[in-house]
Symmetry: C2
Subunit: 366 residues, 2 copies
């Protein structure tokens, strides 16, 4: 009689190579250090790699980077990793160059786990190379933390689809910065007397935006996440030839400020648009509604778009607070009321949780 | 070079034995019929079993029950299933007797998937037998749909815990019936002029309650789900010796109506308590709050309880609508704002989704 010994199989040692030892990477190392089944065999920064198949202690890994030497990830590291399987290549960078190597890793039977959105939201060609390399070798490419950090977004969407539900629409607030700005600017009921430009400036001072707030207000981060989600939905897989660049994005960067600006120039220029935002807020408020910067994937008409929308005060998007993300999955099975996932969608610790959760899923499957 | 061929391994045929071809069971058959990797080899109702290791077409399975003959699940069926591994025993009943056989199935290397709450919410002794049998043989016992139906509740809790987060509190509305009653009775802002007993009576007429509404108002369904959740949380595993019977439950069955009553006697008696509920509602409403029947697992003091509580109108529990469930995971990592999962927590189709999702997870792991 064959027994399926889960207890033993999940304890099989799984090797790990980590690229990018920054904020998220440090938290990944910390979380993995508590799990005895993982063995770190390589750590890389943007310049060099320390490879040691005997194992690198998680807690000294960043210090051990002092022993790193320049090494081609494509031509040297990945072939070496393929000799130490099962192995997971964890990309904690936001690098295009590293993302372009996922097909190489997967072709070598090396699994990929990443919070880096680039590989799955850039050209359809790269996305297809990743998918095909994974299918051919059987190595996994997991990306839970590319959307909503550690929130169960991609896994929930995949379970809905695998069990045969029809997803009709995904909508939500997919950016922590956009969430914070509009949850603060436009509340159900009465609003604080605050200027939009002042709010953005204060948010920047508190570290709630990128160093240049135009990066957040462009909507491109939301568009990247929408590209990733839409490619999981049957019928929309090939909708976005140019990935994030094919998404219908309403940028909140005002005309005239869309060229090169310093953050200070940008915030100063934004003041000329305070009356515009105040008017939008008042119109919404008069209709007992609020403003939210929302992303939508609509399977009925193939829409993949993001922009500023108005929602009634009783809507789940209106009661959002802080910088929380929220995802509403409208499906045939769930009917009139969507399945909702909500919570912090950014932060090193919760992003690392998504990465480590994916590593555990792979360890349970190999 | 070893390759991990996920595409092939997930397509390995997994045999399925289904117990209980009722509402959920029918939906499970329908959903599984779309997935080529599953083969139905046995179907049982409460009286008899049709076992055919050559395969039973999913669409004719219920009709094929006409060929069923009496068979001991423990002494005949499970030993037969163990000769056809990998095999999943799906229990769609709410039977104590079937739940008591999980350790037997698991000991034979047969995986268990079920929405039946009994096995995981009864005595600690049965729970431990299930856990130990699973650990010894490596066969899985999956139960996502025991709490919140197809909502990602147990999987989310397990990911939080496996990745090293500390869960400080789980709170939520865990019963669709209780959700509907109090979402309707006690809304943020103004309330409809409705008597509690009339609401319960109308809800029963519309099929929103069990045939005898006392089953819902007792809180025991919520208590069972709390028992299941609490046993997953480190430090609370052994808290509930008697499972559901060890949960601190506030029953909404009024004194004097807690004996044998017909539904009509019960609803008639409930009218004498309308003033009590109206008073509770008014007190809450005067404080800009609402009433919700809430379950709580608190790791700080080991509390596992359910009862009627008051929440401010701005709280996520206050904006709940319909008969939705909501689960708030308060954790060290998520800090002040919990990770939230919300949506339909009952219904054959979404319950079956949880069951089939578990079957897919097992198929990916064997």
């Amino acid at each position: 009689m064959v027994l399926f010994n889960a207890a033993q199989s999940t304890q099989k040692t799984v090797n790990v190579a980590l690229i990018g030892p920054g904020g998220v990477g440090s938290c990944v190392l910390e979380q993995l250090s508590k799990l005895s089944q993982f063995k770190l065999i390589s750590i890389s920064n943007s310049k060099a790699t320390y490879f040691n198949p005997s194992g690198i202690p998680f807690h000294s890994a960043k210090a051990d980077l002092s022993k790193a030497t320049p090494k081609s990830i494509e031509k040297e590291l990945i072939p070496q990793l393929s000799q130490h399987q099962p192995c997971i290549f964890i990309d904690n960078t936001s690098s295009d160059a590293v993302a372009s190597l996922y097909p190489v890793a997967l072709s070598h039977g090396v699994h990929v786990v990443t919070p880096n959105k680039v590989g799955f939201s850039a050209s359809l060609s790269l996305f297809n190379h990743i998918r095909d390399a994974s299918a051919a070798s059987g190595a996994y490419a997991y990306k839970e933390s590319t959307v909503g950090a550690g929130l169960p977004v991609i896994s929930t969407l995949e379970t809905l689809l695998k069990t045969g539900d029809k997803v009709t629409k995904i909508e939500g607030v997919l950016s922590g910065t956009m969430s914070y700005l509009f949850n603060t600017f436009s509340k159900p009921g009465t609003n604080d007397d605050i200027l939009f430009s002042k709010l953005v400036s204060d948010a920047r001072d508190q570290g709630y935006t990128e160093p240049h707030p135009a990066s957040d207000l462009s909507g491109s981060d939301v568009a990247r996440k929408l590209a990733i989600l839409s490619r999981l939905v049957p019928g929309l897989e090939n909708r976005l030839e140019e990935g994030v660049h094919s998404v219908d994005v309403e940028s909140l960067i005002p005309p005239g400020l869309d060229g090169d600006t310093t953050p200070e120039q940008f915030l100063s220029g934004l003041k000329h648009h305070d009356a515009h935002y105040e008017s939008l807020r008042k119109t919404a408020s008069d209709a007992n509604s609020v403003l939210r910067y929302v992303g939508v994937v609509d399977t009925a008409d193939g829409t993949v778009k993001c922009g500023l929308e108005t929602y009634p005060a009783s809507h789940p998007l209106a009661s959002l607070s802080g910088s929380d993300n929220i995802f509403l999955f409208h499906t045939q099975r769930y009917g009139a009321r969507p399945l909702i996932v909500q919570g912090a969608g950014a932060g090193s610790d919760v992003t690392a949780m998504g990465v480590v959760g994916d590593c555990i899923s792979i360890a349970e499957r190999v």
